[in-house]
Symmetry: C2
Subunit: 135 residues, 2 copies
DNA sequence: GCATCTATGTTATGTTGTAACACACATAGC
DNA sequence: GCTATGTGTGTTACAACATAACATAGATGC
């Protein structure tokens, strides 16, 4: 039994997830494509199809405000509560966190409005601690 | 003294804002361009440049998860606290609200992390009340 | 064998967003 | 008047992001 694979990935899914995991930060689909050309990737759809599945599995998150994708920071994660992201505009660092209290308030609001919530996007832009410190 | 114009808009800005205001919902930049061809618009930059200013003025919001823009629902608004959006995936309706408590919690988190928050993106996807009722 | 489902490969196209350069217009300083 | 400066504008070309449509390949179940 595998400990770190809730989903058996196909070859392309594994390659794409590997790229994101190795990168340790967000990559665009086309950046992934370029990284994987030496593995035989030729067309954007090969990347997008794998990303669709990985996002569905909860192993990868899409950053809407960057048009980019990032591996979930919970290693071997098979999905968790809604995530939020703090994105540094100086260095590009992305920090994932899970603000359950925030999500609870948003869910309360949607319920009070009769809105059936499917998913949330929370992305914070600013400057990270080390970039603030260094000027 | 004008009551509804905190900013004197240029011709192009007024046209773009008018389109969004009349639409009563989100439009992509290219949809705006098509609407404004009869007013002499020929190129996407004419739209994007106006949108940049309108967003800066706080009169228009960008919806990252739709790659679209929407007039602020506060008429004559010159900017307010961070907004959030509930987006119906059935009918496309977008409801703007201002969840101060949520923003406060997010701000607390960023401050505890030394992250200098510049702006927030909060977008909720789901099904609106009337679409839930009718389907 | 045959239907069905999923994954994959490939070409072409559609959608969203900018770079670079030129020009018009207003305002301020000389 | 005449420059300098800043901002708004117009235009061409291009870059970046995403999908449609069609073909092929392998696995599973009957
Ligand atoms: Zn995650
Ligand atoms: Zn940083
Ligand atoms: Zn608003
Ligand atoms: Zn609806």
């Amino acid at each position: 039994m595998r400990t770190h694979a809730q989903h058996e990935l196909t070859k392309n899914q594994a390659l794409v997830y590997g790229s994101l995991s190795d990168a340790g930060g967000p990559l665009t689909a086309y950046a992934i494509l370029d990284l994987l050309r030496e593995n035989g990737f030729r067309a954007p759809l090969q990347v997008y199809r794998a990303l669709d599945k990985l996002v569905e599995f909860g192993m990868v998150h899409r950053l809407e405000s960057l048009n980019a994708f990032v591996a979930c920071s919970h290693k071997g994660c098979a999905g968790h509560g809604s995530a939020a992201f703090a994105i540094c505009e100086k260095c590009g660092d992305v920090r994932e966190f899970t603000p359950d209290d925030v999500v609870r308030l948003l869910k309360d609001w949607t319920e009070s409005q009769g809105f059936a919530l499917a998913r949330t996007t929370i992305e914070l832009r600013g400057t990270c601690k080390s970039c603030v410190a260094s000027g």
